[in-house]
Amino acid sequence: MHDTRDPAELLAAAAGGDQQAWDQLVFRFGPRMWAVARSCGLGDSDAADVVQGAWLRLLEHLHAIREPAAVGAWLATTTRREALQLLRKPPHSPAAEPPAAPDPASAVLEADGNRLLWQTVSTLHEPCRTLLRLVATDLGSRQMAQRLGVPIGSVGPTRARCLEKLRTLISLQETVQ
């Protein structure tokens, strides 16, 4: 699906009624929204619900996005908010408040951020290097424990430690750049 327009142009076109521009936004940013919803721990059905909700929020705010160039980050942030809302609220609940601005942390989802992330993961020592690769393949804690040869109870704390290391390294690299 080839469209050379940048996100701000696509957003403006969609706000003017251009279905193709909307489709292109879905094509570009849908995969990361799905990944965010699934990373919040949602199953397929709830993740689909949350992604749909985030698109509906954009539909409501087509003319009101403060940083049109960052609409991808806004969508990722909105997806995370809707996911967290679904996880903590009872079935009938008012909608999550749409974000005024994207979470700065969502920048890690940009294409360059992904490459940097994997380069950094490959520099980590074991078990972090393997564990973070397994996390990315959606392996359950029990299978992950078997693959790593560690007790199942240590998977969660080890994962948190590894993510903390990764976060530190990424922050250092961003500081250097």
Partner: protein, 148 residues
């Protein structure tokens, strides 16, 4: 501060092991037909009946307000479907039309005396109400998720 969910999402994206299902993308593309040009968005507002006094099993009251108009919606979920009884205040003029919308189904009603309307048998999920008054911009409630 980097949130773990974004980190994990970036790892998952790069791994490519859990791509977005085709039907999720198709549903997102299809939502564009629900765009209401020039609509004013009514936002949730607190009212006494929305503070959870009815319990999780009973009807849920939801209030939205915009441009001097209040939408009070009583949402009931039964047998996996949603019924909505609502009132628009102050009661709009003759010829006012209300649409109760979901991504899969839209039902239209002429407002009855006193601004009342009702629809039944909607699928669970996202829901919004649009009020079309002659001579005014449409007013659309924010989308809310209704689940059994």
């Amino acid at each position: 501060m980097i949130n773990d969910e974004y980190f994990l999402a970036a790892l998952r994206l790069a791994a490519g092991s859990d791509p977005i299902p085709g039907h999720v993308s198709a549903a997102a593309r299809d939502l564009f037909r629900l765009r209401v040009p020039s609509a004013v968005t009514a936002v949730p507002a607190e009212c006494a009946a929305t503070r959870g006094v009815r319990g999780a099993e009973g009807p849920q009251m939801v209030r939205f307000v915009a441009a001097g108009l209040t939408f009070d919606l009583e949402v009931t979920v039964g047998d996996g479907l949603i019924d909505v009884a609502g009132q628009v205040c102050p009661a709009p003029v003759d010829g006012t039309l209300v649409e109760v919308r979901t991504p899969h189904l839209t039902l239209s009603r002429r407002l009855a005396h006193g601004g009342h309307f009702a629809v039944t048998g909607l699928p669970p999920g996202w829901l919004s109400v649009v009020c079309h008054r002659p001579g005014h911009a449409p007013i659309q409630t924010r989308w809310v998720r209704i689940r059994p």
